[in-house]
Amino acid sequence: MISLSLTPTASWYLILAAVLFAIGTFGVLVRRNPLVMFMCIELMLNAVNLSFVTLARELNDINGQTIVFFVMVVAAAEVVVGLGIIVSIMRNRAALTVDDLAELKG
């Protein structure tokens, strides 16, 4: 169980990462601005990175930090491609919510 002393253990950081992940999920589900949805995906990626670093510290394994390095690189590539798609879709539109992208609706 979680010890009640005032030294932060790995569980504290893992629970913090879980809460951060849930806030990011809530943002993706609720917000309709595609840019803000993207920021919420970044929140979720950061929660996972925090878990990786915590477990690397807890299990004394440097490979957890290596994985975080790769996650950061892939996140950077993902942001570049995603923002490129958003710019090319939204360039000639007045509205800026994902609900307005309804051309395929029958």
Binding site: I2, A56, Q65, A77, V81, I86
Partner: protein, 180 residues
């Protein structure tokens, strides 16, 4: 002292995250995201991941948020989302229930699984008199450039593909008539 650092980092992370999802102006959301990213960097430092904390500040808080702000300015900074209207009925209550359930499941798994993982790695070098001040960076570099060197090279290919693809994607197409 560690408790104080943890509380500060947790406050930064949670306030920033809540700011991202409740501020209706995208610029304010991006600045709240910076607060969260710095909080994550602080908790990286407090867990001996010094190199990753520096990369977090430089790449995330520096490059990625600046990219977000660029795109917000490019698309028009005045477009503010109206958060009062709810396009789908019962979407927000369902989202709240989903996220509370997610937190519950994750916390239960963390509390129950505490101490289950018994396998230990070779250890993380801490910066001290024996290892030198850059022990974490040296050890991380040894891991990346020996065991994960193929993944590292593939990552560079991924970055090139992403950049070329984005340039092709956002280029304005010239009219065929003007070429003739």
């Amino acid at each position: 002292m560690q408790f104080f650092v943890f509380v500060c980092a947790a406050l930064m992370i949670l306030l920033g995250a809540v700011g991202v999802i409740v501020r209706k102006h995208p610029v304010h959301a991006a600045l709240s995201l910076v607060l969260t990213l710095f909080g994550v960097a602080v908790s990286f430092v407090s867990q001996e991941a010094h190199f990753l904390a520096a990369v977090q500040v430089i790449v995330y808080a520096g490059a990625i948020v600046v990219l977000f702000l660029f795109v917000i300015m490019l698309l028009g900074v005045d477009r503010v989302e109206n958060l009062r209207t709810e396009p789908l009925t019962a979407q927000r209550p369902l989202a709240i229930i989903t996220c509370l359930g997610l937190v519950g499941v994750l916390v239960a798994a963390i509390v129950n699984g505490n101490g289950v993982l018994n396998e230990r790695g070779e250890g993380i070098n801490l910066p001290d008199l024996q290892n030198g001040p850059d022990a974490n960076t040296v050890q991380l570099a040894e891991s990346i450039f020996s065991r994960y060197v193929v993944a590292f090279e593939v990552t560079s290919v991924l970055l090139v593909i992403a950049v070329v693809g984005t340039v092709l994607l956002t280029r304005k197409r010239l009219a065929k008539a003007s070429v003739k």
